[in-house]
Subunit: 417 residues, 2 copies
Amino acid sequence: MTRYADLNPPARLLMGPGPINADPRVLRAMATPLIGQFDPSMTGLMNETMALYRGVFKTANKWTMLIDGTARAGIEAAMVSLIEPGDKVLIPVFGRFGHLKAEIARRCDAEVITVEREWGTVFPLDEIRDLVKKHRPRLLALCQGDTSTTMLQPLAGVGAIAHEFDALFYTDATASIGGNALETDAWDVDCVSAGLQKCLAGPSGSSPITLSARAEAAIVRRRHVEQGIATASDVPGNGARIRSNYFDLAMVMDYWGDKRLNHHTEATSMLYAARECAKILVEEGVDNAVERHRVAGGAMAEGLKAMGLKLFGDQTSRMNNVVGVYIPAEVQGDAVRKSMLDDFAIEIGTSFGPLHGKIWRIGTMGYNARKDTVLTTLVALESALAMHGAKIATGKAVPAALAAFRAAEARTAKAAE
Amino acid sequence: MTRYADLNPPARLLMGPGPINADPRVLRAMATPLIGQFDPSMTGLMNETMALYRGVFKTANKWTMLIDGTARAGIEAAMVSLIEPGDKVLIPVFGRFGHLKAEIARRCDAEVITVEREWGTVFPLDEIRDLVKKHRPRLLALCQGDTSTTMLQPLAGVGAIAHEFDALFYTDATASIGGNALETDAWDVDCVSAGLQKCLAGPSGSSPITLSARAEAAIVRRRHVEQGIATASDVPGNGARIRSNYFDLAMVMDYWGDKRLNHHTEATSMLYAARECAKILVEEGVDNAVERHRVAGGAMAEGLKAMGLKLFGDQTSRMNNVVGVYIPAEVQGDAVRKSMLDDFAIEIGTSFGPLHGKIWRIGTMGYNARKDTVLTTLVALESALAMHGAKIATGKAVPAALAAFRAAEARTAKAAE
């Protein structure tokens, strides 16, 4: 018999676009013993998790719950439940994850309209309004933060535009939530999906999602209770049956709601993780967490610039938690990344599509949005670049980053006076 | 701000139809720090996990991997990837989880043929042959173990029948794997999906799956690489595009295979858990684990009978790991279950559909397929039943169960001589 070693992955500081190192509190939560899925303690924890994520999403939405899968599972659950075959879906694309939404919408047999922008930019509000007015989609789907480009799409006002033209508005906040402002209710967003593995400081594998009353109505209209547990009082909806059972949000609502109708068997350990992620964030204060990401991401950017590196994309639209930086022409990008990983045990990110080989992506998110991780990454990168023969300014990155941290500390101290 | 207590679920002995208490080794594995998804250590662990599950499934299938979701996610991934709209799908139903497969197949727009049997029985092989011969389905989908009835469908010979009539054969082994013999290759099964939360002694949230070369061919014919990462060399398949992106097994293969094409972000903590579940099972020896389940489940059944309780269904076709027992007429089933939970912290299972209120389901699976858990459950149930006024024989259950354990120990000792 082949013998397998005990699980013993190497130490890593994960400073890429995610996943990042999970908060040790989240890791410990996952080691908690299991309880039964309809145990009152379990349904109590499910209800607490719903309440905690209302805080994270900044919403009063009743239907705020978890999809048992990665962030991509949450995207598909939102789209397959909101889209009926033939529906017109408008997707403004400013990076790879816009293409992903178009791809999923096509598999739902939607009539998909994509509008692409140059990578490194975002859509102005008036352009979104023109597009919605012109195309009159049933659903407007838009990334908040697209890690492929590091850009953050402003969303304030987008919900109002969608509703003016009778569209539903869905956003994927996987990469942005917790590290950038997100106001589900104030911005009239009908559905937001997320993941744990970025600014929420958890592992991939659970996707928090929230639905407005408008989204709920669109989904419940298509409710079909599963054969084998349906009773005479379960009147089927009159809309087309949702094409997925696992991602049928009407069924997921019946499982998380008072009916407690059996659907999947809740992934208890991932629920423990998701609850702990939200608890940490809500205890810190979501606004404080966003500011922490703004400061850490800003300090990383200042450090990289001080080294003489050039940042990618419109810096006024950059996510707080990830920065793209051009690879100096005189080095081979993957060789430097390998040095970072092999010599310093620090992971930074490569890129997709048109940016592949051109930029690295460096994250400062969740548990890793800290001063020590930023400074450690900067000194290691400076050293690795120098060893690979890059022409960079040495000894300047850390002072620049520290200055950014100190300026933020001074502002905080002044505000507290 | 509402304060939330630290995560502190009550102690429970989970002796229902699953989930059950996870092995502490699996819980500890989930607390392991994360690594990046394309880190060589991570892809190494993914490859090890594939190899370990080949051992669990008893297969040489290359494509033996994890779906990131609960067992139901694995079922849907198998079905949506194997079924093209309009395909004829034959589903012999002997419990609730047969209905679930029919429900999923209908959402895939298959032409679904179900044949139902009385709950508590299974299909004889010649009946399956007659059905396949008559209906000539593209896919035959069959539960191995259906926890709703506790029955185990014999599968040896079914694959040969399916192939004789040019059908693919899929089985859902969620409830049975690890506790009952399963011979993927020897029984010519084209696809098997499973879950961790039963005899694999883990939490719900990861679904191991394996695909034969025949299943692979059927799926790869429909491969469409995702826009945004497709290159000129990616020739799309000529079959209908798989309707789900998340559950597109062609894409999941490209992620787990040498191409390492980005798809979802692997749920690393659940991968750690799934790997540990398989490692524990393979180290014990899959056949030894099946025997342990047979002995523990048999002892539980003997104990229940000695109390004067009547078992549900054809006992010659019962799963090793769960037994159905009629609720004595003189007690209220849920009240006894509540006493078991509140007074003894032991969970036993209720039932679905036609069996609701008629039988309890008592599991002996995974980490809980042990002598101490069987005896503890029996004495607690005997005490709870007596307090609720059931007319049972007292003081007989433990001796009967112990006798079953001792007979098994004697057989093992004799075999070792």
